[in-house]
């Protein structure tokens, strides 16, 4: 490795001595102990094995100094096991020994967490600093981004999307860009990520340790009360459709780990997200309630008269809404089925004054209950 500039500070050396006075250190490639009889510190790292007096601790080789500052940062400066695990993941600690990491940190190590790009760098004393920005801003000049220093600002950044629409699901891939946290501490980067993507780090950490507790759909059904009791009647087939519709990576960045039950896997792809989804979220439950209402209806045979192009157009309109591509369709691009003029033309031609397609009543028997008119999401 190249020469490490990090001289050990008095504070670091004091912590090192005080710790060794109590017990030996073994951390991340560093092994050290204090021999009281010889009044010597034995320090072993992959490339060096030294014994030095207290006075000479500050003059150890650069490689050993790096291991000591690394130990100091992770055990004395990072406040909890979860934060340590997360910060270590951010700098690929499991894959690279300290000297290689220090070289890489000099230039910055980038990792992605959802739509966040988090760059870890190193100060001379081994303290890590963190920069967070939107992945879409990876190449943006920092001057063009709005700078933030308070990690809790992430909460407000994540509330609305780029169009000003509310994001009830913070793990949806609709995080707005244009902001920058240029210089966060380890504690602060944890809080910022917690604010952007609540509870994702702690669940990821449980998963890393093989301790992720998963509540499957049937557990969720069994637990409901009040208006959400209704999801108990949602057919299993509908849960398949619901997960394919809602839990796809295009809709949520969590990786779905829950299934119908432990023994009944769902066919839909759970996604490739770095952090897991351990149970159906309140959005899926609320949506499931609506679908449970809708699925009570029996199918009915209708007869419509459409040209082949009109049938295709209806199908492509559904695709455009489902894939959220309506806004990408140009005003005068009449080739596109979901073009506004095309759709308005279709409505003029095929809908009657009551909005019925081809003049075919939805409920010929006169029952006008659409079964889904409750939009109140406040079930107090």
């Amino acid at each position: 490795m190249s020469a490490v500039e990090s001289d050990l500070s008095e504070i670091q050396l004091a912590a090192f001595r005080e710790t060794l006075a109590e017990e030996p250190i073994e951390y991340d490639g560093l092994a050290a102990e204090y021999d009281a009889d010889e009044e010597a510190y034995h320090i072993e790292t992959p490339e060096h094995q030294t014994s030095v007096s207290a006075d000479d601790l500050g003059t150890v080789a650069a490689e050993q100094a790096a291991y000591i500052t690394n130990w100091y940062f992770y055990t004395q400066q990072v406040g909890s096991e979860i934060k340590r695990a997360f910060c270590r993941w951010l700098e690929l600690a499991e894959d690279h020994p300290v000297p290689d990491r220090y070289d890489a940190l000099a230039a910055g190590i980038d990792r992605e967490w959802g739509q966040l790009r988090i760059t870890t760098t190193l100060a001379d004393d081994g303290t890590r600093r963190y920069e967070v920005r939107h992945v879409d801003d990876s190449d943006a000049n920092t001057d063009t981004l709005t700078t933030h220093t308070d990690p809790f600002d992430a909460r407000d950044i994540g509330t609305l999307d780029a169009d000003g629409q509310y994001r009830p699901l913070r793990t949806a891939p609709s995080l707005d860009s244009g902001w920058l946290f240029p210089d966060l501490t380890a504690d602060e980067v944890y809080e910022a990520v917690e604010a952007f993507y609540p509870a994702t780090v702690v669940n990821w950490h449980r998963e890393q340790r093989g301790e992720l507790d998963i509540d499957h759909w049937r557990d969720e059904q069994d637990r409901q009360s009040g208006i959400y009791n209704l999801i108990t009647v949602l057919p299993d087939e509908a849960v398949e459709w619901a997960t394919a519709a809602c839990c796809d990576d295009s809709q949520c960045l969590k990786r779905r780990e829950w299934e119908l039950s432990e023994d009944e896997p769902l066919d839909a792809d759970g996604g490739d997200g770095v952090f897991p989804c351990r149970e159906p979220c309140s959005m899926v439950v609320a949506a499931g309630r609506e679908w449970a209402k809708l699925e009570r209806e029996d199918t009915q045979t209708y007869e419509f008269e459409l040209t082949p192009s009109e049938k295709e157009q209806l199908e492509e309109i559904v695709d455009a809404v489902a894939d959220d591509t309506v806004d990408e369709i140009r005003e005068a691009d009449l080739d596109e089925s979901a073009n506004r003029y095309r759709v308005r033309y279709l409505r003029e031609k095929r809908f009657d004054d009551d909005g019925n397609l081809s003049g075919t009543p939805t409920r010929p028997d006169g029952d006008d209950n659409d079964g889904a008119n409750d939009t109140d999401d406040h079930d107090e």
Partner: protein
């Protein structure tokens, strides 16, 4: 290490629903009374199911930012937090006297102190008074002889104010009316306002007829709600006749039927609500030093601080 966990309803539709929760969490965080302050929601993230695992304290105090005891505080929250052995009788409450219960949350295998809702704490009465002061811009509102700012009050009458505390009603939760009545009575006992009445959205006496229920020309109207939303920003202003269409806004005060209505919006957005959260945690045994006094001082409207 001591953690405060504020749990609230949140919304899939209204981005402002969680705002008071976050604002009060920030206020309390700034006091340093807790090593960490976490928030969890029924409808937002982190969910009630996962909020406890984001807290690392040895002593965890859970305070529901809800108005009343009932379905959420007695059933949903304990279930979602996985409070082992929970039963509403542990609060030994008459509907407005829930204090605290200490139970193991199986999600984290630790004891947590589960507190009663902020809405039924006696300190919430002070928040209603504070909202009356902030909406009129008069720190002595109602106290005729002591009013420091008669300009701000500009009353046409003798300086007396009526005060309407507004609630949902009993349709959804019988105990929500109890909380309204409780604070109405406490406000009445202060003697500061000429008339204090409880009004409801979906039962008699209705907020729609607010002017018929008061003789006072000036009426302060404050909904006992946690967050502003559909009911407090759209329904109630339109029902009282402050505006035909909430999107057009309304003046404070607005004159309706010869009465001036000082409409305050949801009381839970008042900064002093942070104090009630602290009171709940302190009642449950949290060591918070002088945080309550500091929050009370810090959340005073600037006009009041200047007058101190």
């Amino acid at each position: 290490m001591q953690s405060l966990v504020i749990v609230a309803h949140g919304s899939h539709l209204n981005p402002d629903s969680a705002t008071p929760t976050h604002t009060h969490a920030d206020t309390i965080r700034a006091t340093g009374a807790f090593d960490e302050v976490r928030t969890g929601f029924w409808k937002e993230q982190p969910s009630l199911r996962e909020v406890l695992r984001t807290a690392r304290g040895d002593d965890i105090y859970v305070v529901p930012l809800f108005i009343s005891e009932g379905y959420f505080t007695e059933r949903v929250i304990p279930r979602e937090l996985r409070l082992e052995g929970w039963d509403p009788s542990l609060w030994d409450s008459d509907g407005i006297s829930a204090d605290t219960a200490t139970l193991v949350a199986s999600d984290i295998d630790k004891e947590v102190h589960y507190c009663g809702p902020v809405g039924t704490h006696e300190a919430m009465t002070d928040v209603l008074v504070r909202r009356a002061e902030s909406v009129t811009g008069d720190p002595s509102v109602g106290e005729v002889s002591e009013s420091a700012d008669s300009e701000a009050r500009q009353t046409e009458s003798d300086g007396g104010f009526g005060f309407a505390v507004v609630g949902h009603g009993t349709e959804r939760n019988e105990k929500s009316a109890k909380a309204i009545e409780y604070h109405t009575e406490r406000l009445r006992e202060t003697g500061r306002f000429d008339e204090v009445k409880a009004l409801f959205m979906d039962e008699e006496p209705e907020v729609d007829d607010v002017t018929e229920h008061f003789d006072s020309e000036d009426i302060i109207v404050v909904p006992l709600f946690i967050a502003d939303g559909f009911h407090t920003q759209e329904d109630i202003p339109e029902d009282m006749g402050l505006t035909d269409d909430y999107r057009d806004g309304y003046d404070v005060p607005t004159t309706v039927d010869g009465h001036r209505i000082w409409y305050g919006g949801a009381v839970g957005t008042e900064a002093l609500t942070a104090d009630v959260i602290l009171e709940r945690a302190a009642d449950a045994g949290a060591d918070i030093g002088d945080a309550i006094a500091r929050v009370r001082q810090q959340t005073k409207p600037t006009t009041l601080v200047a007058g101190d």
